[in-house]
């Protein structure tokens, strides 16, 4: 689960990491009110779950109310790499003396505030990495190695070491998959402050973490929203062939095969293991509701998933929901024969079956292009 910057910063602050005090706003008026309350200059920052906001113009400094209004209205609604900005974070503009990058699993660099991959490519020596054995945890020598090898100036080594230790404690206690601060700054008054936070939490740890509070549905795409509400593992793509399959590897492979057949997949949808008929019907409904989808490819290789459940789901979906697109079904594995029998006994004008994955992909692409 990718958190927004301000959510990550609040968790870091709870762990003792110094972060700027600020507030969030969903409208221009609220943003200006927050900025007025904080006092100028302020930084107005787009809250989206994607990197590269600064370069995209999603972070601006305002010196007064007029500028705050101008920047807030410019940033709200802006598209950053496919993410629409629906929320802003406003905080006091920092007086930066030095910037670094810090991330667990651990990296520290003397070039903060830029995309770390570019640094890694252009100047690999600027990045210090240490391997932390999870049985051992983060020890002082790890911090020492990072600050010396990462080129942190002598006067900031103690402060940065302390923050790295706090960050690792937060990384573990929050069940974070990623905890990245870019930039980690030293202010002109010498304080070490996390000016940004990119935190990804592990949803598998939900039984011991409070994740519900972060579970706002930010998806503006109607299919992604519907899929999240129904608990489907769905990712929107750009093509015309809707794809439903079981197992991450097989679905990824299906996207590739559709492309090789001359088409493009409209989505990734993995129904996982042991999908019920209802789950299959929900999946078909969500994929079918996408106006860019011209045909649907269902590719199932049963292990735990059983062929007759898939077939029953398809028949139920076609009975209950109006699915205008042609559907190509390929069933193999556990109880595939029973599944094919059920589909054969319930003929529908838009239901096609194929015996192999390649044939199914070719047929789905042909139908999408003929539509």
């Amino acid at each position: 689960m990718d958190l927004l910057e301000y959510q990550g910063k609040q968790l870091l602050a709870d762990a003792g990491v110094p972060t700027p005090a600020g507030d969030h706003a969903n409208t221009v008026d609220d943003a200006v009110a927050v900025a007025d309350r904080i006092g100028y200059p302020v930084a107005i920052k787009a809250q989206v779950q994607v990197g590269g906001r600064g370069k995209a113009g999603g972070i601006k400094v305002a010196g007064n109310s007029e500028e705050a209004r101008e920047h807030a209205s410019g940033i709200l609604g802006m598209d950053i790499k496919g993410h629409t900005v629906l929320r802003l974070w406003i905080e006091p503009a920092a007086e930066i003396a030095a910037e670094f990058y810090a991330s667990f699993t651990g990296m520290v660099s003397a070039e903060g505030g830029v995309e770390i991959e570019e640094v890694a490519a252009a100047n690999p020596d600027a990045i210090a990495r240490v391997h932390i054995d999870p049985m051992l945890g983060f020890h002082p020598y790890h911090a020492t190695n990072l600050v010396y090898r990462g080129g942190i100036p002598a006067e900031h080594r103690r402060g940065v070491s302390e923050v790295l230790t706090q960050m690792f404690a937060a990384f573990e206690s929050l069940d974070a998959e990623l905890l990245e601060v870019n930039p980690l700054i030293v202010t002109t008054s010498g304080d070490v402050v996390a000016l940004d936070a990119k935190v990804t939490l592990d949803e598998n740890a939900e039984f011991r973490q409070e994740l519900e509070r972060f579970r706002e549905i930010f998806a503006t795409d109607p299919q992604e929203r519907a899929a999240k509400e129904k608990g489907l593992n769905y990712i929107k793509l750009q093509g015309q062939v809707g794809v439903i399959g079981n197992g991450a590897g097989l679905v990824m492979s299906t996207l590739d095969v559709v492309a090789q057949a001359g088409g493009k997949a409209a989505n990734f949808l993995d129904v996982g293991g042991g999908a019920s008929a209802e789950f299959i019907a929900n999946s078909l409904e969500v994929v079918s509701s996408d106006p860019q989808v011209k045909s649907i490819l269902v590719n199932i290789f049963g292990g735990i998933t059983r062929g007759e459940e898939v077939a029953n789901g398809i028949v139920a979906a076609l009975d209950e929901v109006d699915i205008p697109q042609p559907i190509v079904v390929r069933l193999d594995g556990t109880n595939a024969a029973e599944g094919r029998q059920i589909l054969g006994d319930n003929p529908k004008p838009n239901l096609h079956s194929a015996t192999t994955m390649l044939e199914a992909a070719a047929e789905a692409v042909r139908l999408a292009q003929g539509a």
Binding site: V50, E115, E117, D133, P134, M135, E172, D175, E177, D202, N204, A205, F207, R208, N233, I235, L237, G245, N246, G247, A248, G249, L250, V251, M252, S253, L255, D256, V257, V258, A259, Q260, K264, A265, F268, D270, G272, G273, F301, G302, G303, I304, D332, G333, T334, T356, M357, L358
Partner: protein, 288 residues
Amino acid sequence: MAIYVDANTKVVVSGLTGKEGRFHALRNRAYGTQVVAGVTPGKGGQDVEGIPVFDTIAEAVKETGANTSLVFVPPRFATDACYEAADANVDLIVCITEGIPVHDEAPLYSYLRYRDVPMIGPNCPGVLTPGVANVGIMPTEIATPGRVGLVSRSGTLTYQVVHELTQKGIGQSTCVGIGGDPFIGQFHIDVARRFNDDPDTDAIVMIGEIGGDEEERCAAFIAAHVDKPVFGYVAGFEAPPGKKMGHAGAIISGSKGTAQAKAEALEEAGVAVGRNPSEVAELAAARM
């Protein structure tokens, strides 16, 4: 012979009395696997269709001579079962459980490496040596005994390739599903090493997917150490960056972990890479 699982494998199932554990353990036994014990604390002394249940793995090992642990317990208890199995001195752990927190998997990985106990999974379909033993959830009817070893992170993609190999008359020595999580006990490289040393394996089919750098590291290992023919396939050419494609480990981070880079690394190592599951099966069939 074969790798990990053979005629001498004796399985103790953690979670045998649960729905999934019972279903698959009985299927494994029906296939001919020696499923000798189950473990559920508090249910020691019971049995599941003749398979005795013990309170601890240590007791099960002592009483039955079990040497392989198969774990079906829910995610929050699964790593505990794996530590218990390692401390009971089994030779192999196969952990099917999906959904274990990363911060539980990481120290387990570390511990098992120190103890030198191989683990397949977590979040995997298990290990199938066709005609001999099945430890896990793979459908057995698609496989046939033979001399091609197969390793994959993905369950259903394994089934797809095994199915295509079988249809082309190519049997398998062992099929290993190593799991889709970032921290797994055995990586492609560990399995490739065993296949290379296995006298009953003539060729290796390796199926990768986006995310991490495992396939690249395995490619370097193949170039340096593997003398048997290797056939490869990588899924996820169409995957967009920054999106987790179903598996926790399947994510392109920035420019890292793309299918293209992995396929190229394998090709440079002399691996014949197919563009889809059918093509990799054809490449293998043409050579065998």
